[in-house]
Amino acid sequence: MEKLRVLVVDDTTLVRQGLRSLLEHRERIDLVGEAASAQEAYELLEALRPDVVLVDQEMPGLDLVEAIRLFKSRLPEVEVIVLAEWADEEQAFRAIEAGATGYVLKDIHIENLVRAIEGVTSGRTLIHPRITRQLVERFRLLMRERQDQNGSILGGLTSRELEILLQMVKGATDREIASRMFLSATTVKSHIRSIFRKIGARNRTQAVAYALRNGWHLRSAYGQASSADHGESHGG
């Protein structure tokens, strides 16, 4: 059986080594290389010709979506799977839109990561079909609720963007927001650009004015988003 050639891209040595030790003895996987940045990975693509690139959601130098587009432009058939430390729905959607095959959290069980890398479906579902239908229905309901909120209250902002916008209202600088939310300054800047785009603001002042105009709705929506982010269930 031909092995799948995998390239790992992460700026943390420990993560790269951890993935190597978890994946290198797999029957169907051949870890052909590692890169510490998207730029380095891009330069290795032609020489290594991986089938799958596992890429960190946040790398120095290059935005994730930009990196995925670059990888796909150089090697269109390559499958890109994003390894995310924290879940960001907007980023996940943009990554998939840019050509990523998957977006998975780093604390995923190794067998599921392998399954994603191998892209195995074979028409098999691992949950009983009856439960599958009910779970899908549950997701549909939650999706509708989310969309209603996005359309009427949140202006399409994700819960993280909303949280950042509220920090901006409080007068926090990018650095302070990054520190309070345990994010890098680059990530905060990227979220702020996304907020500006979604609400049609040209600068921070306009964004804060938008938040104040919609203050009551934002506060109530923030309550929902925040509780969802911090572990409460979406349904029952």
Binding site: A87, D88, E89, G102, Y103, L105, N112, F139, A228, S233
Partner: protein
């Protein structure tokens, strides 16, 4: 007790709604289900299917 599952989502409904529910938690039948990933698997015929990777966490007895 914890178990991981993969859920096939009717394609392409999820992405048509611009929805990537990674990180979502939902309570269902006394379990908390956490979406740990989304991936577009390729079937033997080359068609793409949307899968969600779920971890089921049960409350300790």
């Amino acid at each position: 007790m914890e178990a991981s599952r993969a859920l096939l989502f009717p394609d392409p409904e999820l992405l048509d709604r611009r929805c990537c529910p990674v990180g979502w938690r939902l309570l269902w039948q006394a379990s908390i289900w956490i979406v740990q990933g989304i991936y577009l698997a390729r079937t033997p015929t080359g068609r793409r299917e949307t899968w969600l990777i779920l971890t089921e966490e049960r409350e300790p007895d």
